[in-house]
Amino acid sequence: MTSIKMRPGAPGAQILGLGAYRPRRRVTNDELAQTMDTNDEWIQTRVGIAERRWASEDETLVEMACAAGGKALAASGLGPDEVDLVILASASLRAPIPGIGPQVAHRLGIPRPGAFDLNAGCAGFCYALGMASDAIRSGDARNALVVGVERLTDVTDMTDRSTAVIFADGAGAAVLGAAQEPGVGPVAWGSDGDQYTAIEIAAGRSTMTMAGQAVYRWATTKLTETLTEAMDKAGVTAADIDVFAPHQANLRIIESMVKKLGFGEDTVVARDIVQSGNTSAASVPLALTALLESGEAKSGDLALVLGYGAGLTFAGQVLRLP
């Protein structure tokens, strides 16, 4: 029998560089209150958002993904020809054929990589991170680019004040490479497909609906065990976590998770939702880059990340920040 030869892998993968793109247009709660029945106090107390970024016409998914991906590449110190896998996470493509991963790779000058789109809702970036890390560990990829990009405003019903105040646009990216000392922990992922209607664009519709109470209950009761699983798998405890950067869905969900997990006093908690709203698959890398840029987080910090959303899907892991 002829045996199938496998390529040598690596002990682990690490994030070499992060990048983000925030749309130019800043939209405050007061601006929203001019066109819908809402106000700053209502929005701040329920979801914790003060302002968000909305993409203009020219800030397409591809343009934003290229901007964030290009910055992550530059930060990694790698040339485009050293990347051989591109995973693009998004839930807001208006035309699903073709996926935009190959086009983004081409625009960045990455020659003929494995490239595809991944739709795991707001968990997409963390799913993609896990898959890219595994591809590097197995030897199927040397280096990988992971992008989370959304134009949620394209799929938001601007007359539905329960979602229109929440969803926003943006992109975040990470470049991963092989490492002797792992910088991306094992992924803790899963799904609760019985709640597939909780966040959806229903058949025949073009905008998203969300069962807010059901999602809030799920996020505040079921996901603590996922976060604990991600830390257990990586062999760390809450006391070891320097930075907690969960999906920026709702400030109250973030505070509830922080209360339950028992981090140390010095743990930095990402609250990028206050300035960025909920950007789905882009929220985790946007939050991480914001903390690194402000100096609240630093290179070498141990971060716990978690994505969760439509599906319902969830994925979390422990990371070493680049």
């Binding site: 069962a211 807010g212 109470q213 809030y216 209950r217 505040t220 109250r252």
Partner: protein, 80 residues
């Protein structure tokens, strides 16, 4: 089996903890949203706290029907 008064007292404690409501204000005729200023997400937190304290399950569709403190008390009594 706790008495109606016990349930009302237990519910009052939860309302104080979750939403800062003065327990004495949590009388059966009070509407959570209109009288006690409890928002929809705090209702979810109250529901999960009630589930833990009284050993009942409150599915999301049932939660939508619980409008007053009295509704919550009778739900707990019926399902305990």
């Amino acid at each position: 089996m706790p008495s109606t008064a016990d349930i009302q007292a237990g519910l009052g404690e939860i309302l104080e903890e979750v939403a800062g409501v003065t327990p004495a204000d949590a009388t059966p005729e009070k509407s959570f949203t209109d009288d006690l200023d409890v928002d929809s997400l705090s209702m979810v937190e109250i529901a999960t706290a009630v589930e833990d304290k009284f050993g009942v399950a409150i599915p999301d569709d049932e939660l939508a029907n619980i409008k007053t403190v009295g509704d919550a008390i009778s739900f707990i009594e019926k399902n305990q």
